[in-house]
């Protein structure tokens, strides 16, 4: 056996543990879900022989699920928009400033990623809940003090933005940082004002970063469970909540699998569309 054959064999051995792991913990479970979505379940016998589209029909003919799908998309889009609006200036700061400010902003943005989503959501539950500081401040805003925030779509969007803001800021900062200074100098030398340099050069060139951040935040928001479940207080019905309900409360594995597959496919479609847009723009 010569050296390069031996090296190829060794590479195969190196990749073996991850392959076995992914097949056992990922491929087979996902495949099982796919197969369960197209079978009939008997409460006593479990999955029966043969194929059936009954769960697909049950889900897609039910207007309730369409409203759940629409709400998931709409709340995720809302989270994306808020993240762009408040994340863009932060990304500019990360690129514009050096030293202390930059370190503080980086730390404040990234440190929460090390805290469990459940604890972060719990914090919002206290802040937004009955008797919490924000609830108590409502009369100052001219709202009834009895207005409930927990259980509303607003609460869910606040929680989602808090969870995923960093995933918006980092790609925007990266695209700003990769700007070619020669392009900016050229614009300046030709007499463009700073505002014009920003609106006509910097902003358009940062859009790929905005798009990849938007895709990340959308995909993560559409799949988030803990935050919509707790801040939505079971009243804001999104897909992840329906999936949880089907599996853990109603034990309807068939419908749960159909909803899961729909969620995966639609998130993947969004990611794919956005990344092909990115690629065609870069080419």
């Amino acid at each position: 056996m010569n050296n390069s054959t031996r090296e190829r064999l060794f590479r195969l051995i190196l990749l073996l543990p991850i392959a076995i792991f992914l097949v056992f913990a990922f491929i087979v479970p996902m495949g099982m879900m796919l197969s369960n979505s197209a079978r009939h379940f008997d409460p006593l016998l479990g999955a029966t022989e043969g194929w059936s589209a009954e769960y697909y029909q049950a889900v897609f003919s039910d207007p309730f699920y369409w409203s759940v799908i629409a709400k998931t998309g709409y709340l995720s889009l809302a989270a994306v928009l808020v993240c762009i609006l408040i994340g863009y200036p932060v990304a500019v700061c990360l690129v514009l400033f050096q030293g202390r400010h930059r370190t503080i902003i980086y730390t404040g943005l990234l440190a929460p990623l090390f805290v469990s989503a459940i604890v972060r959501t719990y914090g919002w539950l206290i802040l937004l809940g009955q008797g919490g500081p924000i609830q108590s401040a409502l009369p100052w805003l001219g709202l009834s003090p009895m207005t409930r925030i927990i259980g509303t779509e607003t609460a869910v969007v606040i929680g989602l933005v808090h969870l995923f803001l960093a995933m918006m800021v980092l790609p925007i900062a990266a695209s700003l940082r990769n700007l070619d200074p020669a392009v900016l100098n050229a614009a300046r030398i030709h007499g463009a004002s700073p505002v014009r340099v920003y609106t006509r050069v910097i902003f358009p060139l940062s859009l790929p970063g905005v798009l990849s951040g938007a895709v990340a935040v959308f995909a993560l928001s559409a799949g988030a469970f803990v935050t919509p479940a707790i801040l939505g207080a079971s009243k804001v019905r999104v897909m992840s909540y329906s999936i949880w309900e089907q599996f853990s409360v109603l034990h309807n594995f068939g419908q749960g699998s159909v909803l899961s597959i729909f969620l995966v496919v639609s998130v993947a479609a969004v990611v794919f569309l956005a990344s092909s847009t990115l690629r065609s723009k870069n080419a």
Binding site: L109, Y122, F225, S257
Partner: protein, 288 residues
């Protein structure tokens, strides 16, 4: 970055003094806004921590009085202290196993070009593309058929599924500049594969291994959604316990337990940033 800030702030000669006040205002506005966003980012954690010091018998924010009694209660609470130990044990096991699998995979991907490498890399990252709620549901069905629900192994596999891709990526980044001819030289000089990897490759990947293992630890320690499906009455993690309590009760003891997890996360954060620097850890994330 200095070039950009220069282009955005410095005016060409002759117009030097026309806009500085405006630019200063823009800079001050940006900084002020960013600090407001930072307050938004840290507010929930500070709220949880502050609430656990309340002396009242229910959650009050701002807290009333000052007392450690809820921390004492959290430690003395059998479920909370037991699930904390389970979580710490699982996170340690997840870190060790994920970094072993991840290091081997990153070596396999990095040692030479080969057909299908891109596809394999995408495949190894693919668990991150699937929403965790779906991963949990898929594991529930599969583990139910194997009798692996509510076992340490089942919960651990769920945690590793989200930790291993990060381990591969972080080790991969640290191996980016590694010259595999050094490994081949060691082999030619008579070292076995195992010796060559552990004595030549491993030290070069050190920073990635530390970062990857710490990430895997934290991913596991924080994980709640997949665990909701795979845990049960015998094996339960602390985040799952907190999730179930938060739904129904407003006891400050849950806030105290949550604060303890924030403290542990902070220790991991200090360990990872102290040894590597914040930008190196997240540089990988930014340029992917």
């Amino acid at each position: 970055m200095p070039e950009i800030s220069h282009a955005m702030t410095a005016s060409p000669a002759g117009r030097r003094n026309r806009r500085p006040a405006g630019m200063l205002a823009v800079r001050a506005g940006l900084i002020g806004f960013s600090y407001l966003v930072l307050v938004f980012m840290v507010a929930p954690m500070l709220t949880v921590i502050a609430s656990s010091f309340t002396s009242t018998n229910f959650i009050r924010f701002p807290p009333v009085g000052f007392s450690f009694k809820w921390f004492v209660a959290a430690i003395q609470d059998e479920t909370l202290s037991y699930t904390l130990l389970v979580s710490l044990g699982l996170a340690t096991a997840c870190a060790v196993l994920s970094i072993i699998v991840g290091f081997l995979a990153a070596c396999g991907l990095s040692m030479s070009q080969f057909r299908g490498r891109e596809v394999l890399t995408t495949f190894f990252m693919s668990p991150l593309m699937v929403p965790v709620i779906v991963l949990g549901a898929a594991m529930l069905q599969f583990f139910a058929s194997l009798g692996m629900l509510d076992t340490v192994g089942g919960v651990l596999l769920g945690h590793m599924l989200v930790a291993v891709p990060y381990a591969i990526r972080l080790v991969g980044v640290s191996l980016d500049g590694f010259d595999w001819d050094l490994y081949r030289a060691a082999r030619n000089l008579g070292a076995s594969e195992i010796v060559a990897v552990t004595r030549v490759v491993l030290p070069s990947a050190y920073s990635g291994i530390v970062a990857g293992a710490t990430f895997a630890f934290i991913m596991s320690f924080d994980e709640v959604t997949i665990s909701l499906f795979t845990t049960g009455t015998k094996v339960q993690t602390l985040p799952v316990t907190i999730y179930r309590s938060v739904e129904y009760s407003y006891e400050p003891v849950i806030a105290a337990a949550s604060s303890i997890t924030v403290g542990i996360a902070a220790l991991a954060l200090i360990a990872i940033f102290g040894s590597l620097g914040i930008e190196r850890v997240f540089g990988a994330e930014e340029t992917r």
